[in-house]
Symmetry: C2
Subunit: 347 residues, 2 copies
């Protein structure tokens, strides 16, 4: 790489969104006197009678969870989006609003309350991926569902209100802002080069090596050049796939393998159950073709220096744009120096 | 307003950025079992010997603060941007970076450690505004400083590491993402209508009334129709001004008055020192004319239901786009029902 960038404040360009991020590599020595987070990682039981996601328990809605053994999904009891809201198109002068339909679901990754993705078996993570595929396709097949956002908020610091291993899926009629930004960039590149923007990027990164975290036959995990969060990472399929529905069974397994490896590294970094929000970006389900798209999964983890000190995306970041201290290369290096065995599983 | 929007999930359009925000008004009854914040508001002393911002104290850099009596600024000891970094323009395949120059400053609002804006006298807030004007103009006059971002991170929850009343100014060569978005929208409207987008919006809001929080001769405070944060607010000058340098002395005072009134309401909402990030958006200092721009100050406060329960902008919000539960109108109504006297000053 250009080593001068290691010591010089600079901005990097995100090829997927067209936006810039400010990097201040000289500033890593700043002392921290601000807010620290709780990091008590209580040992959890396999079953918690008070958990509304555990098998057999009754939820706030009054519904009782089945005695599920594999990933289990249900419609969110407090859905942000509803399937049959009144159709409204409101425009009055400079005020503009429109109704939005959607279906919000919860995906329990495992019946075992004590687990998280890095602690689950590869076969069981594969089942989660298969469930994501199924939901992406089924939700997307609904009339008026044009986009399906699969995500996980992990850890209290990420607004997750229940430690039971689970994620969410919010599906809706309109195509969200972040997807529109990426669509535009994928398309631009496709029209100019006839190849996948992310595929070409992957090739370049594999040659460079310094931001690669894991690689297997079908997937690569890396810290993107334009990473915003301190230890942000991205999982990208080698095959030019538009959505997870296209994964074959070998790819599902390879995806599970790399997901486990990446999240083990994360937990090992600060020897804590590493908080993050992760999400899969893929093509809309509006029936249109998007040959330019290349699906990928991103991880936005807030921790910066320890289990208790996080990066705040506040004043400057909210009003101007994102800023980070350590570089993407430094983050990749730190993650790569860690053991591949989960810290709780070492003897 | 269209009252159906009160009960229907919908999206609203932000006329300043061109982006949408998802509103789920039916969801306010969701119970909260997740993370809560500390809200201990210790009574602070007027002088804290361990505070690096108090008059006469020595900072990490070794510099000693003067015995200041009025707003005091200095270059941040841990600046994210530096005035004289090496010039780099790096482009290699799909990697793109460039050096960024800048000057980061800290603005102490008052020598009194125990204060915050809502607890300061109007005359003293006026002096802060005059200091912002001076810094905007002086920093902006530097060769290669093309944009000046004035902001405040208030409260530990907003990444603020010191309770001494202070804000920051980061000034830099390139024009940040958020400013570019707003510039495009101001310009589009100006070219079509020959008037200020925000001026026309203000007029419409003053007629509607339901989102107005405060109004005086020169300024209006309101909850924008497209508010993202639960109690987000915006302060807008009535006169079509491009930057704070253009404020006359009557306007400076009116600005101080409305700033105090708004932040008192904020503190009274949950009877806590209300955390937020605030920032002023105004024209670049690159010497170009931007007649279409209308400067404004925004407040992004994270608290949702109490001094300890905040809104998390996580999974869905990061990967798709912002989401809120209470509507802008409900937020304005709650703020308007509060007393105008600070809760700590009631007998
Ligand atoms: O400069 P400070 O107050 O130490 O830092 C705070 O504000 C900065 C600007 O918004 C952020 O980059 C930091 O994450 C935050 O902790
Ligand atoms: O639905 P949950 O888990 O209660 O809520 C969490 O995730 C949502 C989607 O990212 C956010 O809108 C909420 O702020 C967050 O607390």
């Amino acid at each position: 790489m250009n080593t001068e960038l290691n010591n010089t404040p600079h901005r990097r360009y995100n090829i997927l969104t067209g936006e810039w991020i400010l990097v201040s590599p000289h500033r890593t020595k700043r002392p921290w006197q601000g807010k620290t987070e709780d990091s008590k990682t209580e040992k959890k039981e396999k079953y918690d009678p008070s958990c509304y996601l555990c098998p057999g328990n009754t939820r706030a809605s009054g519904d009782t969870n089945p005695d599920y053994k594999e990933p289990f999904t249900f419609v969110n009891d407090f859905s942000s989006l509803l399937p049959d809201s009144t159709e409204i198109n409101f425009e009055k002068g400079l005020l503009k609003a429109e109704s939005e339909k959607g279906i919000c679901k919860v995906v329990c990754f495992s019946p075992d309350h004590s687990l998280t993705l890095p602690l689950m078996e590869e076969e069981d993570i594969t089942k989660v991926i298969q469930m994501w595929k199924k939901e992406y396709e089924e939700l997307g097949a609904n009339d008026g569902i044009n986009y399906v956002q699969i995500f996980e908020n992990k850890g209290a610091i990420m607004g997750c209100s229940n430690p039971h291993p689970h994620g969410q899926i919010w599906s809706q009629s309109s195509i969200p802002t972040e997807i529109l930004k990426k669509s535009a960039k994928f398309k631009e590149y496709w029209e100019e080069n006839g190849t996948s923007l992310l595929g070409d990027y992957l090739e370049q990164e594999l040659k460079a090596g310094e931001r690669i975290l894991e690689e297997n036959e079908h997937f690569v995990a890396l810290v993107p050049y334009w990473a915003v969060w301190p230890f942000e990472a991205m999982i990208v399929p080698k095959r030019h796939l538009q959505h997870i529905g296209q994964l074959n069974s070998e790819e599902e397994k390879a995806y599970a393998r790399i997901l486990k490896k990446l999240t083990i590294k994360y937990d090992n970094l600060f020897e804590t159950s590493f908080p993050y929000s992760s999400g899969i970006h893929q093509i809309p389900t509006n029936g249109k073709e998007y040959p330019e798209w290349h699906f990928h999964m991103s991880f936005y983890p807030p921790l910066l220096r320890s289990a208790t000190v996080k990066k705040f995306m506040v004043g400057y970041e909210m009003f101007a744009g994102p800023q980070r201290d350590i570089t993407a290369e430094q983050a990749a290096k730190r993650l790569n120096e860690l053991s591949g065995t989960h810290y709780l599983k070492k003897e």
